[in-house]
Assembly symmetry: C2
Homo-oligomer: 141 residues x 2
């Protein structure tokens, strides 16, 4: 069974100040999750998941890029409208990468400036995988 190359978690709860709205805020992650889902629909190995709270709160929109065996990256300060192409481009680079580290020259500006944190992948032992499972995955048969 093929593993996913990238899951994009999109935080949908953090609020952006909007003085033009009666509520005084909106939640731009909701629209971003929908827009990314549409743009990346049909891309094998990439999925988009809305999540209630990545605990970054003050830097909407925030997304996390994650995949089994790769570094996880949290990126904030993303604009749901103007950064959509950048997020899609970064997603394709991350999905194509072996370890989740997007080469600097391929990194869109919001992904150079907006990194909130990153976490290394768990080791194979910590994933509960045995060596034979991995060899099978790498087999050419």
């Amino acid at each position: 069974m093929p593993e996913a190359d990238l899951t994009i978690h999109v935080c949908t709860v953090c609020r952006r100040v909007r003085e033009d709205l009666a509520e005084g805020y909106d939640q731009p992650g909701l629209g971003l999750a929908t827009a990314l889902g549409e743009r990346l629909a049909g891309k094998a190995g990439i999925s988009v998941e809305a999540v209630e709270c990545l605990a970054v709160c003050k830097r909407p929109c925030t997304v996390a890029f994650a995949a089994n065996g790769k570094w996880t990256y949290l990126v904030g300060d993303l604009d749901a409208e103007t950064h959509l192409d950048d997020i899609v481009g970064a997603a394709e680079s991350y999905a194509a990468s072996a370890n989740g580290i997007i080469p600097w020259k391929e990194r869109p500006t919001p992904f150079r400036k907006g990194v909130v944190a990153r976490v290394p992948p768990l080791s194979l032992r910590e994933q509960g995988l045995r060596e034979p499972d991995l060899r099978k995955k790498g087999s050419t048969s």
Copy 2:
């Protein structure tokens, strides 16, 4: 093969201002990684790993709690000396939890105030696991 209950990634590179030192800074994560490793040695299912850069940089010490199938938590502003017991206590709560979310009443103050971000676990499909593997793990035989 049992899976790990918790891996603590300890960032060892971020600098703390120390005007009393000739260099003007130290890197307290180095000592924290060593101290945690000693305190948690022999605790089944918990491992401590030094990591060069969790990209939080301005909030040393920073650690990430992670385990397969659980939420990942990044926590900063940790003092390598005064918060050691709190980190050990939080580690035991996290390791004992089913999903990585430490109940609020069990959360030491630095883990209430210092959360930098969190990321949900990957789904089983995204981990590349098949249902039979999981049933086997849950078997009582």
